[in-house]
């Protein structure tokens, strides 16, 4: 394999030619040159990893760092570099610091606690569908369900007032866009951490039955966690909890409506639902430019040598379409076992909120399809706007009728 500064490296990210499929370059690379060099916005080169097994081995290999602040850490935009450099939450740390901080939060997102939220989630989803059916048709499913549902669940869990959710979503978009300026991204990151700091102080004065109050009692008061570090971690949790599930609901509904027999199975057969959610996660893989790493030393993988300081995008949307891991990978099939997908990443940084996301999606899809059995997309050609301008993929709008 040629060195990484081979002049052929195409510009990354690529554009999608089909909105519901990953860029065609991923499959082409996987078949011929599965670890392939690309050129980033700043002219720097990085490697794309397109095979499932390579992704899993790289993100569990400590010769690769996940430290966002590393000077050679790869990024898809200049704005993202600016916020990566200031990342103080464990999402951007290597071990042993990562585990030290993450373990303070695992209880908040445990399977047991998330399962216990189910009835509350069902009540929220039912109320939102009530609001949706009160709208003139067609109505935007993103505005009336995909955005408010995870926001309301998250506000409940964290203890933030729901009227703040539009502000939180703006801050998340400022981080996750592909087009914003570095100054804007930096300001949005700062505003959200400042917001969370005010929330911490409010909960110190007026405790509630929520995550912020519990973390204060268990970790801030005993001196294990500074308020500043908690504010950064809290901002990360708010961003992640609002933006990702929203995109899964919007795009997931669109895909289910494209496959009416499978949608009927999700609606009528409770035993299909969990597997269908895994398949939607695999098929959509919304966090499309992750996981990222930087090599801490030269590493040989197959006939490629990734040099010390090289950036790596281990692309979960590519790995999740690897035929070596998923038979006939471009076919959407809610009846397959897709549970080994890597849409939440893999290794120590695998999504902290993945059980929350799964339970939310397991609640929302069958409920929506049961409540509105005639639900269908009601959009003019080109009316649905796909998120080609965002790092987290999805739809900006989804006009539906019933």
């Amino acid at each position: 394999m040629s060195p990484l500064d081979a002049s052929s490296a195409p510009r990354f990210p690529f554009r999608r030619s089909e909105p519901l499929q990953p860029p065609a370059e991923y499959a082409a690379a996987r078949a011929t040159q599965p670890i392939v060099p690309v050129t980033l916005w700043n002219g720097r080169r990085a490697w794309l990893v397109t095979r499932y097994e390579d992704l899993r081995s790289i993100v569990t290999d400590e010769r690769f760092s996940g430290a966002f602040a590393h000077p050679d850490f790869p990024s898809v935009t200049e704005a993202r570099v600016v916020v990566d450099k200031q990342e103080r939450a464990f999402v951007g740390m290597d071990n042993p610091r990562h585990d030290h901080y993450r373990r303070m939060f695992t209880k908040e997102f445990s399977t047991r606690r998330m399962m216990a939220l189910r009835p509350r989630m069902e009540a929220i989803a039912n109320r939102l569908v009530d609001d949706l059916v009160a709208q003139p048709r067609p109505a935007d499913l993103v505005e009336h369900l995909a955005v408010p549902f995870p926001s309301l669940v998250m506000c409940d869990l964290v203890g933030s007032p729901y009227e703040d959710h539009a502000f939180i979503i703006r801050c998340a978009a400022g981080r996750h866009g592909l087009l914003q300026t570095p100054a804007d991204a930096e300001q949005k990151a700062r505003e959200l951490a400042d917001y969370f700091m005010r929330l911490i102080r409010r909960k110190e004065a007026e405790p509630g039955d929520d995550m912020v109050t519990r973390i204060i009692d268990e970790h801030v008061r005993p001196g294990n966690l500074s308020r500043e570090d908690f504010a950064e971690i809290g901002a990360m949790i708010l961003r992640a909890g609002h933006d990702t599930t929203t995109n899964m609901i919007g795009l997931g509904t669109l895909i289910l409506l494209h496959h009416p027999e499978q949608a009927a199975a999700v609606r009528d057969r409770p035993e299909v639902v969990a597997g269908a959610v895994e398949e939607l996660l695999r098929y959509i893989s919304p966090v499309q430019f992750a996981p990222r790493r930087v090599a801490l030393e030269d590493v040989a993988i197959g006939d490629v040598v990734i040099r010390k300081g090289d950036g790596v995008f281990a692309l979960n949307p590519a790995a999740n379409r690897d035929p070596a891991a998923f038979a006939d990978p471009d076919r959407f099939d809610v009846h397959r076992d897709a549970s080994h997908h890597v849409a939440f990443g893999f290794g120590i940084h695998q999504c902290l909120g993945q059980i929350l996301a799964r339970v939310e999606l397991q609640v929302v899809f069958p409920l929506l399809l049961r409540r509105l059995p005639t639900l269908h997309v009601s959009a003019r050609e080109g009316e649905i706007r796909f998120k080609d301008d965002m790092q987290i993929y999805g739809v900006h709008n989804l006009p539906v009728a019933w």
Partner: protein, 71 residues
């Protein structure tokens, strides 16, 4: 099925991140502490649990579960 037909499960608790895949896949073998960290309920499960244990080991994001076919 004789009592002897069992296999062995190890977990590295120090490296567990509490993702919970093991509990979902093999609840007879694994549980979680209140903070999410793994509890090994049965280090020598019967062989009919082997497939579930192997799936749990495969899904574990921090790769802290090892399966030994020997009892």
């Amino acid at each position: 099925m004789s009592e002897a037909r069992r296999f062995t499960v190890h977990v590295d608790v120090e490296r567990c991140i509490g993702a919970g895949h093991c509990v979902m896949r093999a609840p007879k073998i694994f549980d979680q502490r209140e903070d999410g960290i793994v509890i090994l309920l049965d280090p020598h499960p019967p062989l009919d649990q082997l497939a579930a244990a192997e799936k749990a080991a495969d899904l574990c994001p921090s790769q802290v579960i090892t399966i030994d076919a020997a009892p």
